[in-house]
């Protein structure tokens, strides 16, 4: 089992001192220096100026109250097909360190891992949102700005979220992770309304570009444990790294997935090629100078993100779809942040017209 996160320092923003989650985190981290901050802004500015922001961002934990709205529509990307996902940002920052992570673009302003401990506000908000739209189906994830389970050993947030979603018939939770930290989940009454998802890649990509994450074998073992506990599971080939020889490596991952869990337990699989904002490239090159991720034929797309050429992405998606359908013909497979053109080329139609995707894209 991969080690849980243990910060070097804890900073508690004023107003978050007496929250249950705060007390829980502190109880689990005896001996870690704790400091209370009246305001975060000056501390962020000083850290960005004087400290190694990248190191702070992986090792310093800030506990705060979130002042805004927790539940938001996934921002997606302009002009591309959207799957109507919702996100809860109960934490920002991540102890894992992937070469392609978008969080690197915000290090100067957010040199920390930040947990929002006012979960009473979170659940009140979710209660109101789900009640106000009973005819709508909410598919909600917590992994937009962090890994859904990397901090769970400290926060136990899953032990509140999973039972909450179990009580709501118009909402489904997805906890998406690159870890194998599923211990908190196995005894929860989830009612099948929580999907545990794993981002997956071939082992060489994980070793070179997903530092601090669980190896593929451990992720799949964790998926097996969750599936045995009755959870639907999902897999996300995102980002796909289309380097020379990618076909054999990815086909093997597909095979291992279907060897590990029955196809009927797979809620969905998503495919997404490597993509990032151009501003991220110099950061990636500076922080990971040996990584070859930036060497692919990545070109600007209409939403400004850099992606592999269409002539590389489309055949890759087609092959992945064939391999997955050969082993799990009923498993919904969708593309993440792709254009209508690419959907047409891969599926010969938009997602809303595809039978087993209408639930995701409708």
């Amino acid at each position: 089992m991969s080690a849980g996160f243990s910060p070097e320092r804890i900073l508690i923003e004023a107003g978050a001192e007496d929250l249950p989650m705060t007390r829980r985190i502190l109880a689990r981290l005896p001996g870690v220096p704790v400091e209370t901050l009246r305001a975060l802004g000056p501390w962020i500015r000083q850290t960005a100026r004087d400290a190694d922001a990248a190191r702070a961002a992986k090792n310093w934990l800030v506990i705060s109250r979130y002042p805004g709205t927790f539940l938001k529509k996934c921002p997606g990307t302009q002009g591309f097909v959207c799957c109507n996902y919702w996100v809860i940002n109960a934490a920002t920052g991540c102890p894992l360190d992937c070469t392609y992570c978008i969080l690197q673009g915000y290090l100067e302003n957010n040199p920390m891992i930040r947990v929002f401990a006012n979960t009473d506000t979170l659940f009140s908000e979710l209660e109101r949102a789900f009640a106000a739209a009973r005819g709508r189906r909410f598919r909600v994830g917590t992994g937009e700005l962090t890994d859904s389970l990397a901090l769970d050993g400290l926060t136990d947030l899953s032990r509140e979220l999973v039972p909450f979603f179990a009580r709501h018939t118009n909402a489904q939770l997805e906890l998406k992770t690159k870890t194998d930290q599923v211990g908190n989940l196995l005894d929860l009454a989830h009612q099948g309304r929580t999907v545990i998802g794993w981002s997956v890649n071939p082992p060489p990509v994980i070793a070179s570009d997903e530092q601090g994450t669980a190896p593929l074998a451990r992720r799949l073992r964790a998926a097996e444990r969750c599936q045995s506990a009755g959870y639907p599971v999902s897999f996300h080939f995102d980002p796909m790294v289309l380097e020379h020889g990618w076909e054999g490596a990815y086909r093997e991952v597909v095979r291992q997935i279907f060897e590990t869990v029955p196809a009927t337990s797979i809620a969905w699989i998503s495919l997404g090629g490597l993509r990032f904002a151009p501003e991220l490239k110099p950061i990636m090159r500076r922080r990971f100078p040996e990584s070859r991720l930036v060497c692919g034929e990545l070109v600007p797309c209409p939403d400004r993100k850099l992606r592999y050429l269409r002539t590389l992405r489309v055949p890759a998606y087609r092959r992945m779809l064939r391999w997955i359908r050969a082993l799990g013909p009923q498993v919904p497979v969708y593309l993440c942040m792709e254009s209508r053109d690419v959907w047409e080329a891969v599926y010969q139609g938009p997602p809303s017209e595809l039978q087993n995707l209408e639930g995701l894209f409708g």
Binding site: C295, V299, R318
Partner: protein, 339 residues
């Protein structure tokens, strides 16, 4: 008019006096950091016309010789202008050396803004030569117009790793500190190869950054050094081609590196363009695929000045629409699967 002759090492001096150039140690540069070191023609001309208006600062005399604290370039300009003596103010010989150096930094800051190499050299000297502590270094950074921080200090002191040729280049072309720092991280052999290229094509900041991006990514992908990319054919042939202008060379270098960096895109785009050229050879009509082939539509553009001209072009376009090459180009863009 006093020249300070005969004064002892610990003698008092007047506030401001004329000192013969021959008594000044012009070769020593203990407190110098100006870059380039040589005075420019404008300074020499000004001294010729007006004399030296701003006095230099000298320490001494010691054994009859003066050491320059402030004004190395002014003294060199005075010598070039044919002056035999210069106005100078004395500097207390008991001041620590890092203070004397800061005095020079301060005086230069009052006269003109420092360029990035001067900032780099000044900070490097404060840290390495004068072993100044953080307080002194940060004070110097403030005088040089920099925010005092370890990060910025590290960024600037890195520039001393640049080859002399690239040091001159970044100053003469106003290259940003970010790009300059990247150049300073290159091995010296790569810097030398890049210098030769830049001499031929003379790139500004953004163009240089783009060139570095392309070249470094090619180098990382292919496991080769930058010097191989810059110094081997066909780039070597492009920059050595005396028939091309600098602008043409610049364009050609960029095109070549882009083709090296994106071989699949280049091949596919060339294939589509060749089909379009064959399939739609209508004068004055352009058919272009989307940028980076991200999309399946072709763009058609033409102009006309009369209805007759419009009709003629439309007739010819209708003929072109029946050509198999056009269908093939569209099929490539649509990524139709082969049966």
């Amino acid at each position: 008019m006093s020249n300070g002759a005969g004064k002892e090492c610990n003698g008092s001096v007047a506030a401001f006096e004329q000192i013969p150039l021959e008594r000044i140690d012009r070769g020593q540069a203990r407190f110098a950091f100006a870059f380039p070191r040589e005075p420019d023609e404008a300074l020499i001309a000004s001294v010729k016309e007006l004399g030296l208006v701003v006095p230099v600062a000298l320490q001494g005399p010691c054994a009859g010789r003066y050491r320059i604290v402030c004004g190395h370039r002014r003294i060199a300009a005075s010598e070039a202008a044919g002056l035999r003596e210069v106005p100078a103010r004395p500097v207390d010989r008991n001041l620590p050396e890092h203070t004397l150096f800061l005095l020079n930094v301060l005086e230069n800051a009052a006269l003109r803004p420092a360029n990035d190499m001067e900032r780099a050299l000044a900070l490097h000297r404060l840290v390495s030569d004068f072993k100044a502590d953080d307080t002194v270094v940060f004070s110097g950074m403030g005088r040089l117009g920099l925010e005092p921080s370890q990060k910025i200090l590290a960024r600037y002191t890195r520039l001393v790793r640049l080859s002399p040729a690239l040091q001159r280049y970044i100053v003469s072309h106003g290259i940003s500190i970010r790009v300059s720092t990247r150049l300073a991280g290159l091995p010296l052999e790569d810097q030398a190869a890049l210098s030769s290229l830049l001499t031929a094509v003379s790139l500004g900041g953004n163009a240089l950054r783009e060139l570095l991006d392309l070249a470094e990514e090619i180098a990382l992908r292919d496991g080769i050094g930058l010097r191989r990319i810059f110094s081997e054919s066909p780039l070597a042939a492009i920059i050595g081609d005396t028939r091309r202008t600098v602008t043409q060379k610049r364009e050609r270098v960029k095109q070549h590196l882009t083709e090296m960096r994106y071989p699949i895109l280049t091949a596919r785009r060339d294939e589509i363009l060749a089909l379009l050229k064959k399939g739609c050879a209508v004068p004055g009509v352009s058919l272009t695929p989307p940028p980076y082939l991200e999309g399946r539509e072709l763009r058609l553009a033409f102009s006309f000045q009369s209805v007759a001209e419009l009709r003629e072009k439309l007739v010819r376009l209708e003929g072109a629409s029946l050509r198999v090459e056009l269908e093939k180009a569209l099929a490539l863009l649509a990524m139709e699967e082969e049966a």
